[in-house]
C-alpha cells in the first residue's frame, strides 16, 4: 500500500465524448462531480478519438484515476466511433494490467443523457476506490523531475 500524505486528495481526469452529456441537466451533473474532488473534464468529439496515449499522459502527469466516457453502442453520433474505441479500450486495459498498473485507476463507461446522475456516480465511485489505493506512484513524473521548459 502506498503511503498517503495527510493532505492528499485524489486527482481525477475524465475524458468525455461531447455527445453523451450535452443537456443543461447533464452539465449540472458534471458540475456536481467536479465538487467532489480535483476532477478535470476533457471533452473529445467522440470516444473513438481517445488515443491510449492520452490516458498514459494523464497518469504520468499525476492523475490518480482516469475515467473514459462514451456513448452506448448504437448511439454514436458518428455511427461507429465508440465501436472502434471499444477495441482500443479492451486491449489497452488488459495491457496496463499486465504491466502492473492498478486496474482500478483506469476505467471505462457508456453514458447517455437518459441516465441522469450516472456520470457523477461514476466519478464518486472512482474517487472512493482511488482513495483506497492511495496516490498513483507508477508512471508518474514527480514535480521535481520536470524538464526545463515544460509547463
Amino acid at each position: 500500500m502506498n503511503e498517503k500524505p495527510s493532505d492528499w486528495e485524489p486527482r481525477v481526469l475524465a475524458f468525455m465524448c461531447n455527445w453523451c452529456l450535452y443537456t443543461k441537466a447533464d452539465q449540472a451533473d458534471i458540475a456536481k462531480a467536479q465538487e467532489l474532488s480535483d476532477v478535470q473534464v476533457v471533452k473529445v468529439p467522440c470516444s473513438g478519438r481517445i488515443n491510449p496515449l492520452f490516458i498514459l499522459k494523464a497518469l504520468e502527469e499525476g492523475h490518480d484515476g482516469v475515467l473514459v466516457v462514451g456513448c452506448h453502442p448504437g448511439d454514436c453520433h458518428y455511427k461507429e466511433g465508440n465501436y472502434l474505441g471499444r477495441r482500443k479500450f479492451a486491449t489497452l486495459k488488459s495491457f496496463l494490467e499486465y504491466l502492473g498498473i492498478e486496474e482500478e485507476r483506469v476505467r471505462f463507461a457508456w453514458v447517455s443523457p437518459a441516465e441522469r446522475g450516472k456520470f457523477s456516480g461514476l466519478v464518486r465511485e472512482l474517487i472512493a476506490d482511488v482513495k483506497k489505493l492511495g496516490p498513483a506512484r507508477k508512471l508518474t513524473r514527480s514535480p521535481a523531475q520536470k524538464v526545463k521548459g515544460e509547463r
Binding site: 496515449l53 465501436y83 488488459s94 495491457f95 494490467e97 499486465y98 471505462f108 463507461a109 457508456w110 515544460e150
Partner: protein
Amino acid sequence: MKDVQRRIREEARRLLSEGLVDVVIGFEKGTLPLHSTPVFIRDAADVDRLVWDSFCGNNLATYLPKMGDQRVAVVAKGCDSRAIVALIVEKQIAREKLTIIGVPCQRMIDPHKVVKAVEGEILEAEERDEEIVVRGEGFEKILRREDYLSRACETCAHRNPVLYDVLVGDEVEEDASSRYADVESFEAKPPDERWAYFERQVSRCIRCYACREACPMCYCEECFVDHTRPRWIWPGVHPSDIQIWHIVRAYHQTGRCVECGACERACPMEIPLLYLTKKLCQEVWELYGFEAGMSLEELPPLATFSPEDEEGFIR
C-alpha cells in the same frame, strides 16, 4: 541448410539474370561472428555472396516499404513473410512488385546467449548441423544449437512462410504449444512485481530507437516520440518518458506484431521487449481471433469492429 543456401542463390541468379527483379534482398556473411547481415544484390554476378544459416535473424520485410518502385525479391522466413502480408494489408507495399523466396525456418540463434556461454572474445563461429562451433584466442567450444535459440524463435508458431512465390527447402512441422507460455508465467506474478520488472528493465533504455528501426511494422514517417507539437515525450532518459515510449511502442503493435523479435534482437541494452508485444498478440487472438500477417483479406483488429465485441469491462 547448405542446400537451402544453394537454392536461394540459384533463384536469385535466375531472377536477376532474366531481369525479373531489380534487387534481391537476402543475407551475406557478416563482418562479426554470429551475425549474418542483410545484403542488397543487384547483379547476378554477386549472388554467391548470399548465405543462409542460423545467424539470419533480421526481419528483411523492414526494408520493403522503403524500396519505392523497384521490383524486389526478398528472402523470407515465416516471420518475414507474416510481416510482408501485414504490410500488404496495410497498403505499404504492392504484392505485384514483390517476389518472395520463402524459406521454412530452422529457427535462429541469439548471439547474446552464445557470447555469454564462453569466456573470452569469439572471433569465429561456424555452424555444423545441430552444433555451433565458436573459436577465440586459445579456445574452441562446441555448443548445441537448440540451447541458444533466440527467444522469439523458441516460442514461434509460424516457421513456414505464409506467402511465397517459390519455396526453397522442405516445410517444417509447426508447434504452437508453448506460444504464450512466457506471457502466462509473467501474468501469474503479482502486479507490483510486474511493474517493478518493467521499470527495472526499461530503465536501461538509451532511447536509440533501434527497436523501432528494426521493426517491419514501425514504418510511420513521423513517430509520436518525435512530435514536438504536442511534445508527448521529452528527450532524455527520464523514467516516465522511457516507460511511456515502451508502452506506446508496444501498444501500436496491437494486432500488427508478427512476433519476429526484431525489436528485442536490435536492442543494444538487451531489454526484453517481446514479452510486451506477445501479450498484445495473445490478447487480440483471444478477443478477436486474429493473428497478424496470416491473411491478405482480414483487416487488422483495431481498424475494424464487430457489434458483438466483448465489453464486460465497460461500466
